[in-house]
């Protein structure tokens, strides 16, 4: 029999089984420990080595649209090159040239930033190499002898820490591995991007970038504005509406493999990109373009330095057009402004010359984005265009009746403050209505004396002067209304005919809307707006808060009187449009007196221009308050007369000396025809029904003394 000590084998087997069982239990316990209560160091390592990457999804910037949805500014995706200088292939110069050729970028623009980065990286690379060497050496020292030495050192108590190098990971200077080529607009064309991709050069890659395009063109450039490289608005609506327009990048966090390739997305790790809202401006690209054209022509005809125009929808306060034309001119003199900080010098003799009125920022002639919005940024004295506000207030207070006759002293008078003043129309007697129609300074000053200082000052503020319209363009000025504590009789006299007050075209348009609103709303003004109002929950556009400045009947009456002003202005226009007025008589008589499609009402104004020191400058000592032969000629009008829809103001800056010599530099002769044309075109474009034939009832309402106050009736009945 084959008998080995089988009890011994059984025993050993049992012991082995017991030990193995305990061992397996220890292993399971260890797994449980690692999974449920992992050691801190391991957790830290897991955190440091997150297996998660993020893919960014661009939040696109919203479009800027005009009121009819035409795109003014939009965003497309472009590509930009960036280079990892540590991988960029040698020889350096050859690679630079190759990349430059493919990307169609100047070689210097690639070479310079790369050189900087390489110089920065060089010491880091050296130290990294040294570190690697040290680590290798350390590993070599882990031979028996090295190990023995280490043990000995340990026993002696010397500090030997092989892992020392790892502790200061964060303090180490990092390699610059990302060098974008061409900050500031170096976005590749599609062909160039394709060429760079085809190069397959090491360390060269493309990144997506949002590129802003401006299909709106130069006409709306100063309004739509501009964004910087990072797609942040820096000018115009882009700046003001940046919050709405800006998109917010979204992203997806995904688990990646060791090579960085995406595996899957963990739940709740998707953040949708937040695309910016499209913003609709109230500007109508077509009206804007038409107005620009008219102003350019008008400025040319008047030999003016520039012209400004604002067109506002009076129902809603929406700005339809806001145009600033600066005519490139030679032969103008720069006014000798002084630096604000310079010591006050002796009195300077300022020669009488034609000075430059418009401040032209450098570069704006070639780049429309850089132009100033003089419609909101630059003030002028409104002159007679201000009279309707004074006239209607005096009428409202009952301090003058339209039929009251004023002695206008044949057009020459000494004001209560001792200044001589002239009227353009030299009449002895005029009714209060005629004072406005003929724009009599003398009549206005006399009536103005009936107001208290407070009433006059409050009137100006009530109509919104001295405060910003907040229309939504950066850089807007509030204008100047003399504060009540400094108000003197000089102020009282000057403001009566629109001097000693500085306004902007947008303020004028807002105030004049009081006469351009129908029914109960007549006499109210509405805040201007540059963006189309959001629809509220009922689907209706949100209502603006309107401010009553006049009773409706006074506003309507003033409007009727101003209808005669417009008629007078129209009578002076040489070129007239073919008649297409509804109901116009096609008689032979009417044929040579062609008519306008829409009746309008308005007021002209001409005021001497005064020096406006640019930012950081001041007027020198002894500088005159006004330029001697330079004017701001303006015309403000509403229409159509029977049911006003829009208000339009044109300011012609400094009509040329020839106009002054022929006495045709006045607002009614320079800005008037432009307003007339703009009104006609805009109202037609908006589809406003033409005005009915003019009836005499309106004239019958207005008490007239002098036949000279009225233009020759231009057709329509008798």
């Amino acid at each position: 029999m084959n008998r080995v000590p089988s009890r011994r084998v059984s025993m050993i087997a049992l012991i082995c089984g017991g030990v193995a069982t305990v061992g397996l239990m220890v292993m399971v316990a260890r797994v449980a420990q690692l999974q449920l209560a992992p050691p801190e160091k391991l957790v830290a390592t897991a955190k440091a080595q997150a297996r998660v990457s993020q893919a960014t999804q661009m939040g696109l910037r919203g479009d800027v649209l005009d009121r009819r949805g035409r795109v003014l500014s939009s965003t497309r995706i472009g590509y930009r090159v960036f280079v990892d200088p540590t991988l960029f292939p040698e020889p350096f110069e050859e690679s630079v040239q190759k990349l430059a050729a493919a990307a169609q970028i100047e070689a210097a623009k690639i070479r310079e930033p790369l050189k900087v980065a390489r110089e920065k990286n060089a010491p880091v690379l050296v130290s990294m190499k040294a570190e690697e060497e040290a680590r290798k050496k350390e590993r070599r020292e882990l031979t028996p002898v090295g190990l023995g030495k280490m043990v000995l050192a340990e026993l002696k108590g010397d500090e030997v820490n092989p892992g020392e190098g790892q502790n200061s990971e964060s303090d180490k200077p990092k390699l610059d591995k990302y060098v974008p080529i061409g900050r500031g607009g170096e976005v590749l064309s599609d062909a160039a991007a394709e060429a760079v991709r085809a190069l397959k050069m090491k360390g060269v890659a493309l990144e997506r970038h949002q590129v802003r395009e401006y299909p709106g063109g130069a006409e709306v450039a100063p309004i739509a504005g501009l964004v910087d490289w990072d797609n942040k608005g820096v000018m115009g609506a882009e700046l003001k509406l940046n919050k709405d327009l800006a998109g917010k990048d979204g992203g997806v966090k995904y688990v990646r493999d060791a090579l960085g390739r995406p595996l899957w997305i963990e739940s709740s790790n998707v953040r949708e990109p937040d695309h910016g809202d499209a913003v609709r401006l109230t500007i109508d690209l077509e009206v804007q373009r038409m107005v620009t054209e008219v102003l350019r022509r008008g400025a040319e005809e008047c030999d003016a330095q520039g012209a400004r125009c604002v067109v506002v929808d009076t129902q809603t306060g929406e700005v339809l057009a806001l145009v600033d034309v600066v005519r490139p001119m030679t032969g103008l003199h720069d006014f000798p402004y002084e630096d604000k900080d310079a010591p006050v010098g002796p009195k300077v003799e300022i020669p009488e010359r034609r000075y430059r009125l418009t401040q032209v920022p450098p570069g704006s002639e070639s780049d429309a984005f850089l132009a100033r919005n003089r419609c909101v940024e630059d003030v002028y004295e409104p002159g007679s265009t201000f009279k309707p506000f004074v006239w209607s207030t005096i009428t409202e207070l009952g301090l003058a009746q339209p039929s009251e006759v004023f002695n206008t002293h044949g057009g020459h008078w000494i004001t209560p403050v001792g200044r001589p003043i002239d009227d353009v129309k030299e009449l002895n007697k005029q009714t209060w209505a005629e004072v406005l129609i003929n724009s009599s300074n003398i009549g206005m000053i006399q009536a103005g004396q009936r107001l208290t200082y407070n009433q006059m000052n409050e009137m100006a503020r009530r109509f919104g002067f001295g405060s910003r319209t907040n229309v939504g363009l950066p850089g807007e000025t509030a204008g100047i209304v003399t504060p009540i504590q400094y108000w003197t009789n000089f102020s009282q006299v000057s403001v009566s005919y629109g001097h000693e007050i500085a306004v902007t075209p947008v303020q004028m348009a807002r105030a004049f809307a009081a006469f351009c609103r129908s029914g109960d709303l007549a006499g109210t003004i509405v805040p201007l707006r540059l963006t189309v109002p959001e629809l509220d929950t009922t689907g209706e556009p949100g209502q603006s808060v309107v401010t009553r400045v006049l009773p409706a009947d006074v506003a309507n009456y003033t409007r009727d009187v101003m209808g005669l002003v417009a008629e007078n202005m129209e009578a002076k226009i040489k070129v007239k449009p073919p008649s297409n007025r509804v109901g116009a008589q096609k008689s032979s008589e009417a044929a040579d007196v062609p008519q306008w499609r829409y009746s309008i009402f308005g007021k002209s104004g001409t005021a001497k221009a005064s020096p406006l020191p640019p930012f950081g400058k001041r007027k020198p000592k002894g500088a005159p308050a006004y330029f001697q032969h330079q004017y701001n000629s303006s015309f403000i009008a509403g229409g159509p007369l029977e049911n006003p829809r829009i208000v339009c103001i044109v300011v012609v800056d400094d009509p040329g000396p020839k106009r002054i010599a022929t006495k045709t530099h006045y607002g009614s002769a320079t800005a008037g025809p432009l307003v007339r044309e703009i009104m006609e075109n805009t109202l037609t474009y908006l589809g406003v029904p033409p005005s009915p034939s003019k009836v005499e009832t309106m004239r019958a309402n207005v008490p007239i003394l002098n036949a000279r106050s009225l233009a020759k009736p231009s057709g329509g009945g008798n």
Partner: protein
């Protein structure tokens, strides 16, 4: 009636199937689907698992197990004269039958191990010569074997045979323990040259087998200094082993170098967070944890199946060990009893070492988890040895053959 052998077979097949599933899960990788687009494609489906290489390996392994199960082990043992030689008949010296036999067999194992260094046959993986690849064109690495695996199981049978033959003198040092230990030591050194873990495993299993056969424990204790020195020498001969040891002591000192394996393995285990990330949803297998299909498969099991998965695997191993021990205890034939014990201890030690390494309780050694880690040779040979165990159980009821003592030299004259 359900016998221990059936239970062993069921447990082994369960472990093999876990192996197939987990190896396939670990094989998952990101495959580029188009030239410039990379998305994660599993590449693993029911069909790819069912008809994949791993399944074929598993079927081969199961077949090997069944074949070994049917082997007439008792007849073979009789033919091998695996009987205790009466002490007065035991030959002495280097030319005794027993010593010549085991020396010849050991030389054969060492020769096989040496083949792994022969150009044309060798297949070098990660700088170590562990594989012999039969240069048959068109098969690739499908027909490659690990000679250390053969040596591992071969040594079990060899030592069991020797110990049985010299059962009467095993308690004595010179005629009993020393020859066995010399042969074991030589083979282990040959294995250690390429594979420290397996060498250590063979040595441990061999020692347990010899002790069970009757060797005195204090004889072994006398060898401890020598063995320790040998181990130290082996460690010091190649710097990477030193690195592994130091990495075990403080893996965070060089987390991107020597400590990498261990930290990544522990991170994988940690990722399970109790319930596991779900089958197939492990992260570490995507290039972070090297050798995720072989030595570190248990980390992936922990990551994807959680503590439950780890518990199931450990329980199956425990069950396998205890079913095996049952067979050992019932066995009356000394030789077969020692063979069975050797098989069980080898599997148990290997599993324990692997689990210890994966869970960061032991230094990284490069030793596979039996029946689970991907590897055709490993699966086949482990299954076959379990088949032998089952064969021993199957034939336990048969009447014992009349012992036949033959002192003629077995192999060489």
């Amino acid at each position: 009636m359900l016998r221990s052998s059936h239970l062993v077979a069921l447990t082994a097949i369960a472990l093999l199937m876990i192996g197939v599933v987990m190896v396939n899960s670990a094989t998952m990788a990101v495959t580029p689907v188009a030239a410039d687009a990379t998305i994660a494609t599993s590449g693993v489906s029911i069909t790819s698992v069912l008809f994949g290489r791993t399944t074929i390996y598993m079927l081969i392994a199961v077949m090997g197990m069944l074949i070994c199960w049917r082997l007439p082990v008792r007849e073979l043992a009789r033919r091998a004269h695996a009987v205790s030689v009466p002490s007065h008949q035991i030959q002495r010296g280097l030319f005794s039958t027993e010593f010549k036999t085991i020396a010849f067999a050991a030389a054969f194992f060492i020769f096989l191990l040496g083949l792994a260094y022969v150009p044309g046959l060798q297949r070098v993986v990660n700088g170590s010569h562990r594989w012999i690849q039969l240069p048959i064109p068109g098969l690739g690495d499908a027909l490659s074997v690990q000679p250390s695996e053969i040596a591992k199981w071969g040594m079990v049978i060899l030592l069991a045979w020797f110990a049985t033959r010299r059962a009467q003198v095993m308690h004595r040092f010179l005629p009993g323990l020393l020859p066995a230990l010399v042969v074991l030591g030589l083979v282990c050194i040959a294995v250690v040259a390429a594979d420290l873990g397996t060498g250590f495993l063979i040595f441990c299993a061999g020692c347990i087998l010899l002790i069970a056969a009757g060797a005195r424990i204090w004889h072994f204790l006398a060898f401890i200094p020598l063995g320790a020195m040998a181990l130290l020498a082996a460690i010091m001969m190649s710097p990477y082993r030193v690195a592994r040891i130091t990495a075990f002591l403080d893996p965070y000192a060089d987390p991107k170098g020597t400590g990498y394996h261990m930290i990544q393995s522990m991170l994988a285990v940690m990722n399970g967070e109790g319930f596991g990330r779900g089958l197939g949803f492990g992260i570490q297998k995507f290039g972070y944890l090297p050798e995720d299909q072989t030595d570190f498969i248990f980390a992936i099991i922990c990551e994807e199946l959680g503590i439950g998965g780890a518990f199931v695997v450990a329980s199956l191993f425990g069950a396998l060990i205890w079913f095996g021990i049952g067979i050992v205890r019932r066995e009356k034939d000394g030789f077969l009893q020692l063979v069975a014990l050797g098989i069980i201890t080898t599997i148990a030690i290997q599993a324990l070492i692997n689990l210890a390494v994966v869970t960061g309780l032991g230094p990284t050694k490069g030793i596979a988890l039996p029946l689970i880690s991907n590897g055709g040779t490993g699966w086949l040979l482990t299954s076959m040895s379990l088949g032998l165990l089952m064969a021993i159980d199957r034939t336990q009821d048969q009447p014992l053959a009349e012992p036949e003592l033959d002192t003629r030299p077995l192999v060489v004259g």
